[in-house]
């Protein structure tokens, strides 16, 4: 009886040894490199309460330091999605609007990782913060950049 059990176990050991598992390699990632900025207007219906609604601005152009690229030109928008400088820990955006010119410097932490096998490397941008800005006020809503982008920063007028 015992020999039979041992024999069966030996067979199982050999079979399992022959089996090998290939790991699934998924390229899917939700990390992004674009920041989404929503423009909001603060409404005060009375002295005790306030709410916000979308604020539509006419942008003459939106640029960033360290690049000649123009991300937005002559457009009316309440939300913009802008690429950050992936080779640096900060990006400064310049907003030229009909209301005036504004600047916004965003800093972030970069982490690198290699997604399994053929997918290659990617950067993860997190801990987004507005270090300098000339808008009235703003708030960082989502400090991590994800794809598709969701609102990272709300700028209030």
């Amino acid at each position: 009886m015992r020999n039979r059990v041992v024999g069966n176990l030996a067979i199982v050991a050999v079979i399992v040894g022959v089996m090998t598992c290939a790991p699934d390699e998924l390229c899917f990632t939700e990390n992004g490199s674009e920041v989404r900025i929503d423009f909001k207007r603060i409404i005060y219906p009375d002295t005790d309460s306030a709410f916000t609604e979308n604020d539509t601005l006419i942008f003459l152009q939106i640029k960033a330091l360290d690049t000649d690229s123009v991300f937005v030109q002559m457009d009316t928008l309440s939300t913009v999605v802008l690429p950050i400088n992936t080779g640096s820990d900060e990006t400064t955006f310049l907003f030229d609007t009909e209301r005036g010119a504004y600047a916004l410097e965003l800093s972030y932490q970069r982490k690198q990782r290699l997604i399994p096998a053929d997918c290659g490397p990617e950067q993860i941008f997190d801990e987004l913060a507005a270090t300098t800005f000339s808008f009235d006020s703003l708030a960082v809503i989502q400090p991590r950049l994800i794809d598709p982008p969701i609102t990272n920063v709300e700028i209030y007028h």
Binding site: R2, T20, C21, T86, K111, P121
Partner: protein, 245 residues
């Protein structure tokens, strides 16, 4: 005639008397003999042997994957139903592709107990479940080019003496096939991963495998070949009792 009537009456009356005879119940209690008291020997947890093993699964992968190199040895010491397992391994993993290269070198160590469900001093087969605490130390480096609206930048990120630790639930077998030679396998469920690293999230953790950020658990498999070195030849009293069971 009278004699026969008297005889018949006596016969019937004797039968009736006979039917009323009560057999007295034997109320004497007889105690079964008590088995002689066997003084229970305290369990001896003195190691009887040590098995030195090589992970053939790691070794074989060196042949078909030139970008990865693995070595792992295992030592187990048996304490009757229990085994103390010590595992040590090294790995060298490199990945490269379009515009990137990744290198990882490190070592790992696992330690933990196994419970052998097939224990017998006559043979040394094992069907076991066990737990492991595992720790890993490694260096890794990732280099690649990133291209965006701001231009092309060469990113170089590395970890120096980074550490990771995790736990494992292990089950498997160890089968004696010839003299001191054993084969067997271990299936590992790796969990409670904790990684300390800098700006580079390691792609590989020696001993754990691929480090998926959104998946903290991992399954592993080892296929071992062991050689057993016995410490003592005579079975103990405990072993003799075990054989009687």
């Amino acid at each position: 005639m009278l004699r026969s009537i008297i005889s018949t009456v006596l016969l019937f009356s004797s039968i009736g008397l006979f039917g009323q005879v009560q057999i007295e119940e034997d109320t004497t209690r007889v105690r079964p003999p008590r088995p002689p008291k066997v003084k229970k020997e305290p369990e001896e947890f003195i190691p009887t042997s040590v098995k030195l093993g090589l992970d053939l699964n790691s070794f074989a992968r060196n042949f078909w994957d030139e970008n990865k190199s693995f070595q792992e040895i295992q030592v187990d010491i048996d304490f009757r139903h229990y085994l103390l397992a010590l595992e040590f391994g090294t790995s060298d993993v490199s990945e490269s592709g379009e515009g990137f290269s990744y290198q990882n070198q490190g070592s790992y160590f696992r330690v933990g107990p196994d419970l052998n469900f097939l224990y017998s001093p006559e043979h040394h087969h094992a069907v076991f479940v066990g737990l492991r605490y595992a720790t890993s130390t490694y260096d890794d480096e990732l280099e690649y080019d990133t291209e965006d609206a701001f231009g092309t930048t060469r990113i170089s990120s590395f970890n120096d003496k980074a550490k990771a630790q995790w736990a494992e639930l292990v089950t498997g077998t160890k089968i004696n096939i010839w003299k001191g030679l054993f084969i067997g396998f271990a299936i590992r469920y790796k969990f409670l991963k904790s990684v300390k690293s800098g700006d580079l999230e390691p792609y590989w953790i020696p001993g754990f495998g691929e480090n998926r950020m959104d998946d903290n658990d991992q399954f592993g498999f080892s296929y071992y070949l062991w050689w057993r070195f016995g410490f003592r030849k005579r079975p103990t009293k405990n072993d003799a009792v075990e054989n009687l069971k």
